[in-house]
């Protein structure tokens, strides 16, 4: 493990950190995927990570809700804290953590169940039984995901019949149905067309008042459009992190500049 009070990358906007990542390194087998990453994520802000593919963005994201626990033969050093508590500490209940840190994946991945059951899945697992209350949750979340109007007549039909864009919004509704504090989104638009993409972006901006959103994207325009803070990663390192506008106009690091101006990659 590493030192307690390592310097943290400059804090931006509201000084309300929800997730603290300190000197995190990560290996798949012997291959390093993250090298000494340190950063902080602020509450109710959209934070974006950009970088060429394979640079470790997904890995970093999956460390925050401990999805990498499911991958065999991995190793991590460093510390990640949420609200000041070490999420890799011995007392952490992983399922509770994941309930508080929701995730939306690159490929829309609805369960092969009905639309209703997809949204109700999380609440059911966490103990909601009453049908009426469940109905309310499903409707609220679908409305929140701008999907209700389109699917209210076909709640019992298979979610696999929806278009990809609708499926991704369903996955967002499913994620917010367990009332997380943080929403991790791993290239949520990479398999969608421009119209569906802009709907998701709209949705993100709307959700930001209630959730802390961390989005991974390799689309710089998207990062510029939606995020307030952006981090640039390269080969497992977090090269720099700061206010989005500043980063795109006046990058501090040479490598960032190269990437943004399209000289590398």
């Amino acid at each position: 493990m590493t030192t307690e009070n390592a310097p943290v990358t400059p804090k931006i906007l509201r000084d309300e950190t929800i997730i603290d990542v300190e000197h995190v390194s990560f290996w798949y087998g012997d291959r390093p995927a993250l090298k000494d990453v340190t950063m902080a994520i602020d509450r109710q802000v959209i934070t974006a990570f950009i970088g060429p593919s394979g640079c470790g963005k997904t890995t970093l994201l999956r460390l925050i809700n401990r999805m990498n626990d499911l991958v065999p033969q991995v190793r991590m050093t460093g510390r990640i804290r949420m609200n000041g508590v070490d999420i890799y500490g011995p007392d952490t209940d992983v399922t509770r953590l994941r309930r508080r840190v929701g995730m939306v994946f690159q490929q829309p991945n609805p369960f092969p169940k009905s639309i209703y059951e997809n949204v109700a899945y999380g609440p059911r697992i966490h103990g909601v039984k009453s049908g009426g209350f469940l109905d309310e949750i499903v409707e609220r979340c679908l409305r929140r995901a701008f999907l209700w109007e389109e699917v209210q007549a076909q709640l019992e039909e298979s979610a696999l019949g929806l278009s990809l864009g609708q499926q991704q919004r369903l996955c967002i509704a499913r994620a917010i149905a367990v009332e997380p504090e943080v929403l991790l989104m791993d290239e949520p638009c990479s398999s969608l067309d421009p119209v569906a993409t802009s709907r998701i972006e709209e949705l993100m901006l709307d959700l930001k008042d209630d959730y802390t959103i961390v989005i991974v994207t390799h689309n710089m325009q998207q990062a510029a459009r939606v995020s307030e803070t952006t981090g640039f990663m390269l080969k497992g390192e977090l090269v720099e992190m700061g206010v989005t506008d500043a980063m795109f106009t006046t990058p501090r690091d040479r490598r960032t500049e190269d990437y943004i101006t399209g000289r590398a990659g």
């Binding site: 953590l97 994941r98 991945n109 609805p110 899945y121 697992i125």
Partner: protein
């Protein structure tokens, strides 16, 4: 088009020929089974053969084979022999006789020739002579006797107990047989049957085959106890193999830690799948029958010893042996299903805070349910067609008792039982060459084949529907 091309293309055609040849050979063998098996219940017309020496034989031809002989002067000749099914076991051992075709002077199909199927003693062919009630002749001649018989026929079951009524039958050469009605299964005159009557006769025969017990050392009657025994054993086996197979598959794919150990286990399962069935039978005899059964006997049934209760072959031991044999079948099918569940579904569930078990139960199991069903069907098909290990762990050619009946405790796990596959072996493999049981063997072979093919087709259909669903889910 150069000559080079055509030579190479001819080779391609030759390789295609082997593919076609393989299929044709299997199709041919199956065709033989179908033709023989379906023919069993069709009423065969009776022919009367008059030989040059004045002998007369009544029966129907089953085969015609050529015989080559070379005379003393070296002249060659080919003659033909007719295999005739004659019935009447007392006169013709095996109910068959051979006739030299050249010595047949004439043949006809007398309208009044009848077949008398007896409960015991096999069939008789001949002509109805008289109907006798308690020593008095009450009717004479074909029509009159048949009328009397028809009157009594619906009550044949009741008459079984009462021996006063009998029918006198004269065979083609004038000898007379008296057959007590209590011993009559059925009488019919095939030569005067209309096609429709033959169809009805056929249906009745097929029905009786499925639902009645065997008669006459399995040569006649039905296979109901064999079907029942096979089904009971297979159900018992499924109850054992399904939970273990599914759990083992879950262990291999979901819970076990991936690594060299799991790989070794997986290879071992695969190799186990290829171990000959007879070896499982040997294991079953040594472990289940003599060790487990012997232990059970000495603990629970010491009063009956040395007469074994569980310490000999029985349906439970057969079921356990086949459970072992089909374990890899279930594991492979379920594992394939589990491997096909997209990992993103599991991740989505975990990301919502579900535990491993919740993810398995609510997301994975519903998706692999058809695979589990496929595993069940395939293992049932395999078990229904496997005979060798049962021969040493408790199957018998004939058993008067069913493994499940009305007597306490209703399910008799220790009983020996009849099995359709072993019925084929028993009727088709008589050391004395027993031709008489072959029609039965063909029919049972057809039945078993139909069951196994239907089960496999169902499993294949299920799986292909499953694969299509995945491709939809991925798209």
């Amino acid at each position: 088009m150069g000559s080079k091309w055509s030579k190479d293309d001819a080779l391609i055609w030759l390789s295609g020929g082997t593919l076609v040849l393989g299929f044709l050979m299997v199709a041919g063998l199956i065709l033989v089974i179908v033709v023989h098996g379906l023919g069993m219940f069709w009423p065969q017309e009776l022919t009367r053969y008059e030989l040059r020496d004045g002998r007369i034989v009544l029966g129907h031809e089953t085969s015609r084979v050529s015989v080559r002989t070379t005379g003393s002067a070296g002249e060659r000749s080919v003659t033909y022999r007719l295999g005739i099914r004659t019935g009447d076991r007392e006169r013709y051992p095996d109910e068959y006789t051979w006739l030299e075709e050249g010595r047949v002077a004439g043949r006809d199909t007398p309208r009044e020739a009848v077949v008398v199927e007896r409960v015991r003693g096999g069939d008789l062919f001949g002509f109805l002579e008289s109907f006798v009630d308690d020593g008095t002749v009450v009717a004479r001649g074909f029509e009159a006797v048949r009328a009397h018989y028809r009157e009594q026929a619906p009550e044949l079951e009741r008459l079984r107990r009462q021996r006063a009524l009998s029918i006198v039958l004269s065979s083609e050469d004038g000898r007379q047989h008296s057959v007590s009605l209590s011993n009559v299964q059925r009488i019919y005159a095939p030569n005067e049957m209309t096609t429709w009557a033959k169809v009805r006769h056929y249906m009745g025969g097929a029905w009786a085959y499925l639902w009645s017990p065997p008669r006459d050392e399995n040569r006649l009657g039905g296979v109901y106890p064999a079907i029942f025994g096979t089904a009971a054993m297979v159900i018992l086996m499924s109850v054992v193999v399904m939970p273990f197979g599914v759990l083992a598959a879950f262990y291999l794919r979901e819970y076990g830690k991936p690594g060299p150990f799991l790989n070794v286990v997986r290879v071992a399962v695969n190799s186990l799948a290829g171990v000959p069935s007879i070896v499982f039978g040997v294991f079953g005899l040594g472990f289940f029958v003599y060790f487990l059964g012997g232990t059970l006997d000495s603990v629970f049934f010491p009063a009956d010893l040395p007469e074994p209760t569980f310490g000999r072959g029985g349906i439970l031991w057969c079921a356990l042996t086949l459970a072992l044999l089909t374990l890899p079948v279930v594991i492979v099918a379920v594992e394939e299903g589990l491997a096909g569940v997209p990992p993103v579904l599991r991740e989505a569930s975990h990301a919502l805070g579900a535990t491993r078990f919740e993810t398995l139960w609510r997301v994975v199991v519903p998706v692999v349910l058809p695979s589990i069903l496929t595993g069940l069907i395939l293992s049932v098909a395999r078990a229904a067609g496997t005979v060798a290990p049962l021969m040493i762990t408790g199957v018998v050619a004939f058993s008067a008792e069913l493994p499940v009946d009305g007597a306490w405790p209703f399910v008799h796990l220790e009983r020996e039982f009849m099995h359709l596959g072993f019925h084929i072996f028993d009727t088709g493999f008589r050391p004395d060459g027993g031709e008489a049981s072959l029609p039965m063997a063909y029919t049972s072979t057809l039945l078993l084949l139909a069951i196994v093919v239907a089960l496999n087709a169902a499993a294949i259909g299920l799986r292909s529907r499953l694969r299509r669903r995945y491709s939809l889910a991925v798209a």
